[in-house]
Symmetry: C2
Subunit: 122 residues, 2 copies
DNA sequence: TTCATATTTGGCAAAATAGCCATGCTCTAT
DNA sequence: ATAGAGCATGGCTATTTTGCCAAATATGAA
Protein backbone atom coordinates (compact mmCIF):
# COMPACT_ATOMS: atom_id res chain seq x y z
CA UNK A 1 0.00 0.00 0.00
CA UNK A 2 1.34 3.35 -0.98
CA UNK A 3 2.27 5.71 1.80
CA UNK A 4 0.82 8.64 -0.04
CA UNK A 5 -1.50 8.77 -2.99
CA UNK A 6 0.31 10.25 -5.93
CA UNK A 7 0.11 13.75 -7.28
CA UNK A 8 -2.93 13.05 -9.39
CA UNK A 9 -5.07 12.18 -6.41
CA UNK A 10 -3.63 14.89 -4.26
CA UNK A 11 -4.50 17.74 -6.54
CA UNK A 12 -7.88 19.00 -7.37
CA UNK A 13 -8.81 18.37 -10.96
CA UNK A 14 -8.89 21.97 -12.19
CA UNK A 15 -5.50 22.71 -10.73
CA UNK A 16 -4.08 19.61 -12.30
CA UNK A 17 -5.50 20.53 -15.68
CA UNK A 18 -4.13 24.02 -15.47
CA UNK A 19 -0.74 22.63 -14.60
CA UNK A 20 -0.86 20.22 -17.51
CA UNK A 21 -1.82 22.97 -19.91
CA UNK A 22 0.96 25.20 -18.65
CA UNK A 23 3.45 22.39 -18.96
CA UNK A 24 2.25 21.84 -22.49
CA UNK A 25 3.05 25.43 -23.34
CA UNK A 26 6.53 25.18 -21.87
CA UNK A 27 7.13 21.89 -23.59
CA UNK A 28 6.09 23.34 -26.92
CA UNK A 29 8.57 26.17 -26.46
CA UNK A 30 11.27 23.74 -25.38
CA UNK A 31 12.79 23.09 -28.77
CA UNK A 32 15.30 25.34 -30.54
CA UNK A 33 13.50 25.32 -33.88
CA UNK A 34 10.13 25.98 -32.32
CA UNK A 35 11.54 28.75 -30.18
CA UNK A 36 13.16 30.27 -33.24
CA UNK A 37 9.86 30.26 -35.08
CA UNK A 38 7.95 31.69 -32.16
CA UNK A 39 10.56 34.39 -31.81
CA UNK A 40 10.17 35.25 -35.47
CA UNK A 41 6.42 35.43 -35.06
CA UNK A 42 6.86 38.21 -32.55
CA UNK A 43 7.53 40.35 -35.58
CA UNK A 44 4.19 39.50 -37.16
CA UNK A 45 2.46 36.66 -38.93
CA UNK A 46 4.38 34.36 -41.23
CA UNK A 47 3.45 31.60 -43.61
CA UNK A 48 4.85 28.12 -43.20
CA UNK A 49 7.20 28.70 -46.10
CA UNK A 50 8.74 31.66 -44.29
CA UNK A 51 9.28 29.57 -41.20
CA UNK A 52 10.74 26.79 -43.25
CA UNK A 53 13.22 29.15 -44.83
CA UNK A 54 14.05 30.43 -41.38
CA UNK A 55 14.79 27.07 -39.81
CA UNK A 56 16.04 25.26 -42.88
CA UNK A 57 14.27 22.09 -41.79
CA UNK A 58 12.13 19.87 -43.93
CA UNK A 59 8.67 21.21 -44.64
CA UNK A 60 7.07 18.24 -42.95
CA UNK A 61 9.19 18.78 -39.88
CA UNK A 62 8.24 22.44 -39.72
CA UNK A 63 4.61 21.50 -40.09
CA UNK A 64 4.83 19.11 -37.19
CA UNK A 65 6.57 21.67 -35.02
CA UNK A 66 3.83 24.14 -35.80
CA UNK A 67 1.22 21.55 -34.88
CA UNK A 68 2.84 21.20 -31.47
CA UNK A 69 2.79 24.94 -30.97
CA UNK A 70 -0.79 25.16 -32.21
CA UNK A 71 -2.03 22.41 -29.93
CA UNK A 72 -0.39 24.09 -26.98
CA UNK A 73 -2.16 27.30 -27.93
CA UNK A 74 1.03 29.24 -28.45
CA UNK A 75 0.24 30.06 -32.05
CA UNK A 76 -2.85 30.31 -34.16
CA UNK A 77 -3.20 29.57 -37.85
CA UNK A 78 -5.27 31.20 -40.50
CA UNK A 79 -5.60 30.35 -44.14
CA UNK A 80 -5.31 33.09 -46.73
CA UNK A 81 -5.54 31.87 -50.26
CA UNK A 82 -3.10 29.06 -50.75
CA UNK A 83 -0.97 29.92 -47.76
CA UNK A 84 -1.42 29.32 -44.07
CA UNK A 85 -0.31 32.12 -41.83
CA UNK A 86 0.75 31.62 -38.27
CA UNK A 87 0.39 34.23 -35.57
CA UNK A 88 1.59 34.40 -32.02
CA UNK A 89 -1.34 33.77 -29.68
CA UNK A 90 0.52 33.93 -26.39
CA UNK A 91 0.95 37.58 -25.68
CA UNK A 92 3.22 37.58 -22.68
CA UNK A 93 6.22 35.97 -24.26
CA UNK A 94 8.26 39.10 -24.87
CA UNK A 95 8.98 39.85 -21.28
CA UNK A 96 9.80 36.30 -20.39
CA UNK A 97 12.10 35.74 -23.36
CA UNK A 98 13.94 38.91 -22.55
CA UNK A 99 14.26 37.80 -18.98
CA UNK A 100 15.64 34.36 -19.82
CA UNK A 101 18.10 35.97 -22.21
CA UNK A 102 19.40 38.24 -19.52
CA UNK A 103 19.45 35.37 -17.09
CA UNK A 104 21.49 33.17 -19.41
CA UNK A 105 23.87 35.96 -20.31
CA UNK A 106 24.51 36.62 -16.64
CA UNK A 107 25.10 32.93 -16.03
CA UNK A 108 27.60 32.74 -18.85
CA UNK A 109 29.45 35.79 -17.62
CA UNK A 110 29.49 34.32 -14.15
CA UNK A 111 30.84 31.02 -15.39
CA UNK A 112 33.45 32.73 -17.51
CA UNK A 113 34.50 34.75 -14.50
CA UNK A 114 34.87 31.65 -12.40
CA UNK A 115 37.02 30.04 -15.07
CA UNK A 116 39.18 33.13 -15.28
CA UNK A 117 38.45 33.89 -18.90
CA UNK A 118 38.58 37.49 -19.93
CA UNK A 119 35.18 37.55 -21.61
CA UNK A 120 34.57 40.88 -23.20
CA UNK A 121 31.04 42.10 -23.14
CA UNK A 122 29.76 43.00 -26.60
CA UNK B 1 16.73 27.48 -56.37
CA UNK B 2 19.32 26.41 -53.93
CA UNK B 3 18.16 24.58 -50.89
CA UNK B 4 19.03 26.75 -47.98
CA UNK B 5 21.58 25.57 -45.48
CA UNK B 6 19.91 24.55 -42.30
CA UNK B 7 19.32 26.58 -39.21
CA UNK B 8 22.68 25.80 -37.69
CA UNK B 9 24.59 27.38 -40.52
CA UNK B 10 22.19 30.23 -40.87
CA UNK B 11 22.51 31.48 -37.35
CA UNK B 12 25.45 33.05 -35.74
CA UNK B 13 26.88 30.88 -33.00
CA UNK B 14 26.06 33.04 -29.99
CA UNK B 15 22.47 33.41 -31.07
CA UNK B 16 22.18 29.68 -31.57
CA UNK B 17 23.62 28.99 -28.15
CA UNK B 18 21.28 31.42 -26.49
CA UNK B 19 18.37 29.80 -28.26
CA UNK B 20 19.47 26.37 -27.12
CA UNK B 21 19.80 27.52 -23.53
CA UNK B 22 16.42 29.16 -23.60
CA UNK B 23 14.87 26.04 -25.08
CA UNK B 24 16.49 24.05 -22.31
CA UNK B 25 14.77 26.20 -19.72
CA UNK B 26 11.40 25.81 -21.39
CA UNK B 27 11.93 22.10 -21.77
CA UNK B 28 12.77 21.76 -18.11
CA UNK B 29 9.57 23.55 -17.19
CA UNK B 30 7.59 21.46 -19.63
CA UNK B 31 6.58 18.67 -17.29
CA UNK B 32 3.68 18.80 -14.83
CA UNK B 33 5.66 17.48 -11.88
CA UNK B 34 8.56 19.80 -12.51
CA UNK B 35 6.26 22.74 -12.96
CA UNK B 36 4.51 21.87 -9.73
CA UNK B 37 7.81 21.78 -7.89
CA UNK B 38 9.01 25.03 -9.39
CA UNK B 39 5.72 26.63 -8.49
CA UNK B 40 6.13 25.45 -4.92
CA UNK B 41 9.64 26.87 -4.82
CA UNK B 42 8.24 30.31 -5.49
CA UNK B 43 7.21 30.19 -1.83
CA UNK B 44 10.76 29.61 -0.66
CA UNK B 45 13.36 26.88 -0.54
CA UNK B 46 12.34 23.27 -0.03
CA UNK B 47 14.17 20.03 0.57
CA UNK B 48 13.79 17.10 -1.79
CA UNK B 49 11.58 15.35 0.73
CA UNK B 50 9.13 18.26 0.68
CA UNK B 51 8.98 18.10 -3.08
CA UNK B 52 8.52 14.38 -3.00
CA UNK B 53 5.58 14.72 -0.64
CA UNK B 54 4.19 17.37 -2.94
CA UNK B 55 4.34 15.35 -6.12
CA UNK B 56 3.87 11.91 -4.64
CA UNK B 57 6.36 10.46 -7.09
CA UNK B 58 9.21 8.14 -6.27
CA UNK B 59 12.16 9.81 -4.59
CA UNK B 60 14.45 8.80 -7.42
CA UNK B 61 12.07 10.28 -9.93
CA UNK B 62 11.92 13.54 -8.04
CA UNK B 63 15.68 13.63 -7.87
CA UNK B 64 15.91 13.17 -11.63
CA UNK B 65 13.40 15.93 -12.24
CA UNK B 66 15.37 18.22 -10.00
CA UNK B 67 18.51 17.40 -11.92
CA UNK B 68 16.82 18.49 -15.13
CA UNK B 69 15.78 21.77 -13.54
CA UNK B 70 19.23 22.26 -12.06
CA UNK B 71 21.01 21.64 -15.35
CA UNK B 72 18.75 24.12 -17.07
CA UNK B 73 19.61 26.65 -14.38
CA UNK B 74 16.05 27.02 -13.19
CA UNK B 75 16.84 25.96 -9.66
CA UNK B 76 19.88 25.87 -7.45
CA UNK B 77 20.68 23.39 -4.71
CA UNK B 78 22.39 23.81 -1.40
CA UNK B 79 23.21 21.26 1.23
CA UNK B 80 22.33 21.92 4.84
CA UNK B 81 23.06 19.09 7.20
CA UNK B 82 21.61 15.92 5.84
CA UNK B 83 19.14 17.64 3.57
CA UNK B 84 19.50 19.31 0.22
CA UNK B 85 17.49 22.44 -0.27
CA UNK B 86 16.37 23.68 -3.63
CA UNK B 87 15.76 27.31 -4.48
CA UNK B 88 14.32 29.04 -7.48
CA UNK B 89 17.11 30.61 -9.50
CA UNK B 90 15.04 31.99 -12.35
CA UNK B 91 13.54 35.14 -10.99
CA UNK B 92 11.13 36.13 -13.71
CA UNK B 93 8.84 33.17 -13.53
CA UNK B 94 6.08 34.76 -11.51
CA UNK B 95 4.85 37.08 -14.19
CA UNK B 96 4.99 34.50 -16.90
CA UNK B 97 3.22 31.82 -14.92
CA UNK B 98 0.49 34.23 -14.03
CA UNK B 99 0.19 35.19 -17.65
CA UNK B 100 -0.07 31.62 -18.91
CA UNK B 101 -2.66 30.88 -16.24
CA UNK B 102 -4.79 33.77 -17.36
CA UNK B 103 -4.23 32.81 -20.95
CA UNK B 104 -5.33 29.24 -20.38
CA UNK B 105 -8.31 30.22 -18.28
CA UNK B 106 -9.49 32.53 -21.02
CA UNK B 107 -9.03 29.81 -23.59
CA UNK B 108 -11.01 27.35 -21.54
CA UNK B 109 -13.84 29.78 -21.07
CA UNK B 110 -13.75 30.54 -24.75
CA UNK B 111 -14.00 26.92 -25.75
CA UNK B 112 -16.52 26.07 -23.07
CA UNK B 113 -14.77 23.14 -21.53
CA UNK B 114 -13.13 21.66 -24.58
CA UNK B 115 -9.61 21.07 -23.39
CA UNK B 116 -6.61 20.07 -25.36
CA UNK B 117 -7.35 19.03 -28.90
CA UNK B 118 -9.95 21.65 -29.54
CA UNK B 119 -9.29 22.79 -33.07
CA UNK B 120 -12.33 24.63 -34.12
CA UNK B 121 -13.76 23.33 -37.37
CA UNK B 122 -14.30 26.42 -39.43
C1' DT C 1 31.70 1.70 14.54
C1' DT C 2 27.04 0.75 13.17
C1' DC C 3 22.66 2.35 11.88
C1' DA C 4 19.21 5.21 9.93
C1' DT C 5 17.92 9.04 7.01
C1' DA C 6 18.27 11.86 2.81
C1' DT C 7 19.57 12.04 -1.81
C1' DT C 8 21.73 10.59 -6.08
C1' DT C 9 22.85 7.27 -9.67
C1' DG C 10 22.95 2.79 -12.56
C1' DG C 11 20.21 0.19 -15.26
C1' DC C 12 16.29 -1.20 -17.49
C1' DA C 13 11.76 -1.12 -20.30
C1' DA C 14 7.92 1.58 -21.87
C1' DA C 15 6.52 5.68 -23.86
C1' DA C 16 7.13 9.97 -26.24
C1' DT C 17 9.61 12.81 -29.61
C1' DA C 18 12.27 14.19 -33.89
C1' DG C 19 13.04 13.95 -38.51
C1' DC C 20 12.80 12.11 -42.89
C1' DC C 21 10.25 10.31 -47.26
C1' DA C 22 6.22 9.58 -49.59
C1' DT C 23 1.61 10.51 -50.01
C1' DG C 24 -2.78 13.11 -49.43
C1' DC C 25 -5.37 17.30 -49.25
C1' DT C 26 -6.88 21.97 -50.55
C1' DC C 27 -6.58 25.86 -52.90
C1' DT C 28 -5.79 28.62 -57.31
C1' DA C 29 -4.89 29.07 -62.05
C1' DT C 30 -5.07 27.45 -66.53
C1' DA D 1 -10.60 18.84 -65.71
C1' DT D 2 -5.79 19.07 -64.90
C1' DA D 3 -1.72 20.80 -62.92
C1' DG D 4 0.90 22.75 -59.44
C1' DA D 5 1.93 25.22 -55.17
C1' DG D 6 1.58 25.12 -50.11
C1' DC D 7 0.80 22.29 -45.98
C1' DA D 8 -0.51 18.35 -43.43
C1' DT D 9 -0.28 13.49 -42.37
C1' DG D 10 0.91 8.32 -42.47
C1' DG D 11 4.52 5.51 -41.56
C1' DC D 12 9.00 4.39 -40.32
C1' DT D 13 13.41 4.47 -37.43
C1' DA D 14 16.60 6.53 -34.21
C1' DT D 15 16.93 9.04 -30.16
C1' DT D 16 15.32 10.91 -25.85
C1' DT D 17 12.53 10.95 -21.85
C1' DT D 18 10.13 8.85 -17.94
C1' DG D 19 9.66 6.17 -14.00
C1' DC D 20 10.54 2.41 -11.32
C1' DC D 21 13.77 -0.71 -8.46
C1' DA D 22 18.03 -1.54 -6.61
C1' DA D 23 22.37 0.02 -5.24
C1' DA D 24 25.68 3.69 -4.01
C1' DT D 25 26.88 7.85 -1.37
C1' DA D 26 26.86 11.17 2.32
C1' DT D 27 25.67 12.83 6.67
C1' DG D 28 24.36 12.78 11.36
C1' DA D 29 23.03 9.95 15.56
C1' DA D 30 23.67 6.23 18.93
Amino acid sequence: MAILPNMKELMARPHRDLLAEQAKIFKALGHPSRLLMVDALRGGEKCVCDLQALTGADMSTVSRHLAVLREAGVVRSEKHGTNIYYTLALSCLDTFLQCTSTFIAARIREKAGLLGYGEQAS
